[in-house]
Symmetry: C2
Subunit: 152 residues, 2 copies
DNA sequence: CTCGGAATGTAGCCTAGGCTACACTCTGTT
DNA sequence: AACAGAGTGTAGCCTAGGCTACATTCCGAG
């Protein structure tokens, strides 16, 4: 997950290699991707809670276009990661960490869409591409996007 | 419909059209991601073949920062998908399809990096983020990026 | 020509994230 | 109060993409 700037756990320290550059870039892309699904989940759950008052597994599954069992399994992962809480048959809620993450993800999502639109990308393509791009936008890049949008 | 503005209290009985929109966007992002690794592999193999004359599993593995067994397994997938050919202990080569894909991927990669740099993203962040972003850039978005770079 | 080390390949294990099938719980209607 | 149907949860299977451990092949020194 890239948004909260959470550092990876451990590294075996690979001192010798002369070019860890390229490998580290691929590694970053891989780990960013692993957090993408959780980011989308907290964002959607936050939306559902804000608008309808409750976030049910079936609603979540339908919005993502996956089977309800898949959504439930991912919700379990959200719980393990401390981003959500849920008691059986009682809907899903976000922890403070989940709420905070959702806010960052939502803001970043908006900036990415706005940037694409500002560059002349057609609306539907902007929305569609942003859904994937957003998870690979670092803080530095996000800041650059915001600067560009601010000045016009 | 991206981030909902406010609570729309009641649905206007739009039961039929449902909302394949959001689900299809997530679906696109997911499938784009599934091709990301193969794209990076053909691009790297093409680079290795062009510069050194051969692409060996160990080289590939080192550049990606993964175990050689992982690289070999992915090369197997490239072969299944008709993008590469490889005989045991003889190195990896690209098919015509793989070559074409590599060319497209390389061009897109360059445009994405150039765009980020043009927007003022620091060099290393641009290279790093582009490695993930590139796989989610549609043709329409790529065209918009190119237009922006062309004029300035 | 032989041999040892590097490269390559294979086997098996793990998690994430899909799916279907089936079982259980809740709830609105009758 | 009962029950049908919707919603929820569980179990089990699959593939992709990581890993380690071990087996095999190749090749350059000696
Ligand atoms: Mn997304
Ligand atoms: Mn999003
Ligand atoms: Mn890439
Ligand atoms: Mn690339």
């Amino acid at each position: 997950m890239s948004v909260p700037s959470v550092a990876p756990s451990i590294q075996p320290a690979q001192a010798l290699p002369a070019e860890p550059t390229q490998a580290s870039r691929f590694g970053k892309a891989r780990s960013a991707q692993s957090g993408a699904l959780l980011e989308d989940y907290v964002e959607l759950i936050s939306d559902l809670l804000a608008s309808g008052g409750e976030a049910r597994p079936t609603d979540i599954a339908r919005r993502f276009g996956v089977a309800h069992a898949t959504a439930i399994k991912t919700i379990g992962r959200l719980k393990r990661e401390g981003l959500a809480v849920a008691k059986p048959y009682r809907g899903v809620f976000l922890t403070e960490a989940g709420d905070h993450l959702a806010a960052r993800v939502r803001a970043r999502h908006r900036v990415v869409v706005d940037l694409l639109l500002a560059l002349g990308v057609p609306c539907e393509a902007a929305e569609s591409d942003a859904e994937g791009i957003e998870h690979h936008v670092s803080d530095a890049t996000l800041a650059a996007f915001a600067r560009f949008l601010a000045q016009g």
